[in-house]
Symmetry: C2
Subunit: 433 residues, 2 copies
């Protein structure tokens, strides 16, 4: 059935059958042009009304925009055509007629608001610059997985239906699982840790996570893609090295394989692979530098989490990806290992100038300390016995991190809203499509 020629492959001298969407019809009187669009590009179909069968002309020029048609004919050189070639049709078949009124204009001539675009993603994705985002997203995932394999990781898939959440009952979506209460998992954290104590030692997972946060901001999603890494015998510094390798690989893959897509997004000239090592700033330095910018109304003190405006002020100064390390133990989760003095943790964040991308650290691998941590966090260690128990049977020191997939796409491409990086986003208001 798919005996068609992609528009990008139509060469002068060919007899070709192309199929795709009616992008535009320009009727100049005696001559008319139909621009047909497929996934590879666009091609001009020429109708010389006096020299062609009336039925053919009527079919070709009477069809509504965005209908699917199939056109067979001779490919000819034509300098004035957008791609340098055009097709003189022998036949035109209307495969799927579109309604005359469209909820949004895929030619992009009429702007649409984001909610309209998300309600009509099928049409929205006919625009080059939208399609480009998702082609880049796919390439990013490909190159990230390749980088993980280069680091000796085994890909894992962990369950999304769980009996207990990683960080307790808040922010979890409840499910009814055959009459029992269960939840959608907010992070593969505990499962990936269980794997570093197995014979696999070093693992990655790319999969959905679910957070019932009430936030409704341009940076939050209730269902997101998490890129997770965990390795036995790694400390936080090793984990940061791995993180830098993976983030850089994503940029490199896109730079190498997505030239057309970057062009469609107007990024061909400005896109850059980060070339320098990502600086590592201690939390203490970070708050000092933020305070020194004078951009906050109130000075930050030790133990404060970094407010969004603080992140922005520091990001502006840094102008590149950077790590913040040595966070106060008290503001990192219980499964992050403390440094020797107990005040500082091994936790780190990777920051893009505009927002946090990654959270990671060395993990607490000592059974007694871990169980204490659960209690201090107000969690019942018994509910997590499936996890803690394994720490009694030879759990090596280990470290890892989680990277927000959509945030990586968003920051890489300078998108204003994280929903631009998801086909069908889920947020406080949006559950469909």
């Amino acid at each position: 059935m798919d005996e068609r020629t992609y528009t990008a492959d139509a060469e002068p001298g060919d007899e070709a059958t192309v199929a795709g969407w009616v992008h535009e019809i320009r009727d100049l009187g005696g001559i008319a042009f139909l621009i047909l669009r497929d996934t590879t590009g666009k091609i001009q179909i020429k109708f010389e009304k006096d020299e062609m069968d009336d039925d053919l002309v009527e079919t070709g020029l009477g069809v509504h925009r965005e209908s699917v048609i199939r056109v067979a004919g001779a490919v000819e050189e034509e300098e004035r055509a957008p791609t340098g070639v055009e097709i003189v049709p022998d036949s035109v078949e209307v495969v799927a007629e579109a309604d005359p009124e469209l909820p949004l204009d895929p030619s992009g001539k009429v702007d649409a608001e984001l909610p309209t675009r998300l309600d009509n993603r099928t049409l929205d994705l006919r625009k080059d610059e939208v399609k480009a985002i998702f082609e880049i997203r796919a390439e990013l995932l490909r190159s990230v997985r390749e980088a993980f394999r280069g680091l000796g990781c085994t890909e894992i898939n962990t369950p999304k239906i769980v009996a207990t959440g990683t960080e307790g009952g808040t922010e979890l979506f409840p499910i009814t699982y055959f009459g029992e209460e269960a939840f959608m998992n907010q992070s593969p954290q505990l499962f990936k840790q269980l794997m570093v104590g197995s014979g696999l030692e070093r693992v990655f997972e790319i999969g959905p996570i679910f957070r019932a946060e009430e936030h409704n901001t341009p940076r939050h999603l209730n269902e997101a893609t998490s890129i997770d890494f965990e390795s036995a015998f790694f400390d936080e510094s090793d984990a940061m090295d791995a993180c830098e390798t993976v983030v850089r690989a994503a940029y490199e893959g896109v730079a190498e394989n997505c030239a057309d897509q970057l062009d469609a997004l107007g990024l061909a000239e400005t896109f850059e692979v980060p070339d320098e090592a990502f600086p590592r700033l201690s939390y203490e330095e970070a708050i000092e530098r933020i305070n020194a910018t004078g951009e906050l109304d109130e000075q930050l003190v030790w133990g404060d989490d970094l407010p969004t405006e603080g992140e922005h002020a520091l990001g502006k100064e840094m102008g590149q990806h950077y790590f913040i390390t040595e966070w106060p133990s008290e503001i990192k989760p219980f499964y992050i290992k403390d440094k020797d003095d107990g005040q500082l943790s091994t936790g780190f964040d990777l920051m893009h100038p505009s927002m946090e991308l990654v959270s990671g650290g060395q993990r607490e691998h000592r059974y007694d300390h871990l169980v204490d941590g659960f209690e201090q966090q107000g969690l019942d260690p018994d509910a997590f016995e499936y996890y803690t128990k394994m720490f009694r049977y030879g759990m090596p020191p280990h470290a890892g991190w989680g990277l927000g997939g959509e945030r990586l796409v968003m920051t890489m491409l300078g998108l204003d809203n994280i929903r631009e990086a998801v086909l069908f986003p889920r947020d406080r208001q949006r559950l469909s499509p």
Copy 2:
């Protein structure tokens, strides 16, 4: 921190630090051997009691099995050692002591039942033959993705939280989504179809699906990994071609890159990449051949679904992967397109001799027919308007399929239970770990 040498890389003449698990200790009196295991293999550590520091000997030989230790010393040739080398230790550090009693024996000398193994996956995965399954699973996913890219597909990720299920309200797990009723998605079917009408045209997704089936069999999971494909301008025959390419690629990837793992599973001699084209049997032929085997108590008649025993009888005869095509329309879902006569559908299944792997077909792309289909299925088309609406704006003919990821692993490796192919399976009784 990870300055260690993997056991597989320790060469005679090296001063090496290795780290891993205490697999076994054999004390022969004046001399004792500790076998240390890491992700790359095992290495012998030799303790000559009279010639070594007492503390060192005591630490090395007093440690419980499956503890994590770090050993530094000289690597020496030793023909009688399992890998031809051994380490004479200068230092032994106990990194994480294991309890003396283990819930299962990672050396595999004592068999454990599947529930015990699943409760203690960390320990279970220290066994070579279990680890091998998941390393093969990872390679299978890698090669499948590569095959999809070879077919010109874009990788997509579609939402797992949905307002309506693909095939209605049965078999769905309900979620509370900010006070609204929602469900965990049972298939990316509708979303991937929406993508073929977009500029992407050809897509794949590998992700979790959720089915609240009450079945509790060795072939069913309530959370599984679905490998999905969908392409514009494909008919069912094109989709079967793509399916064959992808399944064969999975076998080829494993054959090329998992020799050690196949060996660990005892499959080194018998593993075969399917070399012939997968035969395509019509449903009518299939029931005739099943009836002819005489293995069913009751003869099948037109319109019957194939019972498991029927699949097995036919599978035994076929002895290879095969497609069953031209199913009666009435037993295929409404979104599968009928053939011209209306009695036969374009639906197909790919069968392994032991079970169904894939379900696919050409889809109904005509708006009116699709809406009728919803009604005939007893579903309210209005609830699916987000989906049907897009069929009014130029939806090309298209076809695709869904392949059960765990079933592919299970049939490839001859596993008895599908739970062997999942790290942390979810079934009627199992929600944790």
